[in-house]
């Protein structure tokens, strides 16, 4: 009796160790933030994921996150007590954690058994597509370009491909939650055992509450598909979260490509351009491209109408025997916002088409007898400067009484510089009359509130309703199939 009890007690004590290899959490990210800052933009999500870890100690957890930002480091130490914590998130620590996990799966018997789970949570700055997926920032360098983070200091998510293949072969459930910008580029990592969830589409920034909301929704017993859908329902900001389920892939294919230009905008973050609209206009103003744009817009409107139609319900009237159809999903708000933004974009494209392609980024050095080294300006800067007003300002300054001679001399030299610059501007205009119009157009674009984050995020927000309703419809459709496709996100129960 005592012997049996001892064995039971021993097994109970051992169970966390056994479970630890069955359920695994890996947390990567926190890179690309400015050095010398105390905090990072990833702190809130780190706290939230830490709460999940605290409540689910059966997860054998490895953290390779941040390093160099005291507040963030403090959160990691406090919330992930007992986890294996790497000092800094670097390319080397990232690769070493992946390699360790591959080894755990490769051992005979494997340390992560068949049916086991690995959840990889990524929260860092992410760039546009590079390789098969995309790259994310590490702590080796502060981010300098919001679109491209692929350099020697970034970590490519391509490195996870071997792990996804091995997990599939070993029948281990793998989930990759990519909370970075352009995270939709991680979806190619999905397979029959790997669920991939992204905070944004491949062509968009994840300027939203996605990761914070996602970790809040992560609760024991929930599957990742439900966590994703609940997160999407309460999302704020701009982004187009994606999931690799058959339903998700289908909805995303039908909505995302056509919606893409209407979630572009012009803004900036920490001095870096958050800009895809300039390039979109530059690259989409040929006859063929304009024609394709119209077709894509028509297809988007058709999908929106379909989503409304499939969500109609019959409504009986008290006064009439006739049955009326009533909308349960109303996308009029989205349509209105799309129409308005499309019109704004069409106006820009039309004007651009009227102008020939010119390079406003060419540089000209303006010199005078005094300023012999000269000052470099782009054509764009020269053409957008009102030198007449500057000269007038100098005349007003020179008319002031009581100025010391040295100051007066300096004002005169500045005035002469602006007069030379004015002549340069006139020459550029004579040689390239189309410059002014094109420059005005792009300058107008940069400060046009009709092409701002508010407009694009408004569309992104309204589009959630369409996505969620269409997703639920696809779920019902696929439920009826005899041999449904694998759904590793639904199978991944926390």
């Amino acid at each position: 009796m005592i012997k049996t009890l001892s064995i039971v007690v021993l097994l109970m004590n051992m169970s966390p160790v056994l479970l630890a290899s069955e359920t695994n959490l890996i947390y990567f990210g926190g890179g690309g933030e400015p050095k010398d800052a105390l905090t990072t933009q990833f702190d809130e999500t780190a706290r939230g994921l830490g709460e999940f870890y605290k409540a689910n100690k059966n997860y054998s957890t490895t953290v390779s996150f941040n390093g160099g930002h005291p507040v963030t480091e403090g959160i990691i130490k406090d919330k992930f007590k007992g986890a294996k914590i790497e000092e800094r998130f670097t390319v080397s620590s990232y690769k070493s954690v992946i390699q360790e996990t591959i080894e755990k799966l490769s051992k005979n018997p494997p340390e992560i058994p068949e049916g086991g789970k690995i959840l990889i949570f990524i929260d860092s700055h992410g760039g546009e597509k590079s390789g098969k997926t995309h790259s994310i920032s590490t702590t080796a360098a502060a981010l300098t370009n919001m679109n491209n983070v692929s350099d020697g200091t970034s970590a490519s998510l391509d490195a996870l491909e071997e792990l996804t293949k091995l997990a599939e072969a070993k029948n281990v459930k793998l989930a990759i939650v990519d909370g970075s910008c352009h995270a939709g580029n991680s979806l190619p990592l999905a397979n029959s055992k790997t669920c991939v969830i992204s905070a944004s589409g491949p062509k968009h920034y994840a300027y939203s509450t996605f990761t914070n909301a996602f970790v809040t929704q992560m609760k024991k017993g929930k599957n990742l598909e439900d966590v994703f859908l609940e997160t999407r329902e309460q999302l704020n900001g701009l982004g187009f979260p994606m999931i690799s389920t058959p339903e998700g892939m289908s909805v995303q294919d039908e909505i995302y490509p056509a919606l893409t230009p209407y979630m572009y905008y012009h803004d900036e973050y920490r001095g870096m351009a958050l800009d895809k609209i300039d390039d979109y206009f530059r690259e989409n103003n040929s006859d063929e491209q304009v024609c394709r744009r119209e077709k894509e817009y028509d297809s988007l409107k058709a999908v929106l109408s379909l989503i409304e139609d499939i969500n109609m319900v019959e409504k009986k009237s008290f006064f009439s025997s006739k049955v009326k159809m009533q909308k349960t999903v109303d996308l009029d708000g989205l349509r209105k916002k799309l129409d308005e933004y499309k019109k704004t974009q069409d106006d820009y494209i039309k004007k651009l088409r009227e102008l020939s392609s010119t390079d406003l980024d060419k540089v000209e050095t303006i010199k005078t007898d005094f300023y012999t080294t000269g000052t470099k300006y782009t054509y764009r800067e020269i053409l957008s400067t009102d030198y007449g007003k500057l000269i007038e300002g100098k005349d007003r300054d020179l008319a002031r009484s009581g100025l010391p001679d040295s100051k007066r001399e300096n004002l005169q030299r500045l005035k002469e510089f602006y007069q030379t610059a004015q002549q340069t501007k006139e020459r550029l205009l004579r040689e390239n009359p189309q410059f002014v119009k094109q420059q005005q157009l792009f300058d107008q674009l940069k400060s046009d509130e009709k092409v701002s984050f508010q407009v694009a995020s408004g569309i992104s927000h309204e589009a959630h309703t369409a996505y969620n309703a269409y997703y639920k419809y696809k779920q019902k459709q696929l439920k009826g199939l005899e041999n449904p496709a694998p759904n590793p996100c639904r199978d991944f129960v926390l």
């Binding site: 300006y377 957008s384 602006y418 400060s447």
Partner: protein
């Protein structure tokens, strides 16, 4: 009375304080012609309790010329701690046009520290 105190407190909390550290900062504002002096100044949050004013030197004025009277972000070094809302740029690194956000919809501050450095 209670309401008034809350309102007053809120205004106090809203007004920005001058940066105490030194280093590279990003300020958002407008470069304007000085009305009572020669030259130009860069002004943030004009007319509010968070208004900062930085005179533009003659040398910097040439680089600033294309950005005068337009919403702009200036990335600049400040190497002496600011004691008032009148500051001095020790070195301007970059001028960039920005989308105006006068109502502070995005809730972004007038300035942010890009890189900390020791004060001189």
């Amino acid at each position: 009375m209670k309401f008034l105190l809350v309102v007053l407190f809120s205004f106090q909390a809203y007004s920005a304080t001058p940066p105490k550290e030194c280093g590279t900062f990003a300020f958002t504002g407008v470069i304007e012609k000085n009305q009572n002096a020669t030259g130009y100044s860069f002004v943030t949050d004009k007319g509010t309790r968070s208004e900062f004013n930085f005179p533009i030197s003659d040398e910097d004025e040439l680089k600033a010329a294309p950005y005068i009277d337009r919403p702009v972000k200036i990335t600049a070094k400040i190497l002496k701690p600011m004691t008032s809302f009148q500051g001095k740029f020790d070195q301007i690194e970059k001028f960039e046009l920005v989308v105006p956000d006068p109502a502070k919809i995005k809730g972004e501050p007038s300035y942010s520290l890009v890189k900390k450095e020791k004060c001189k």
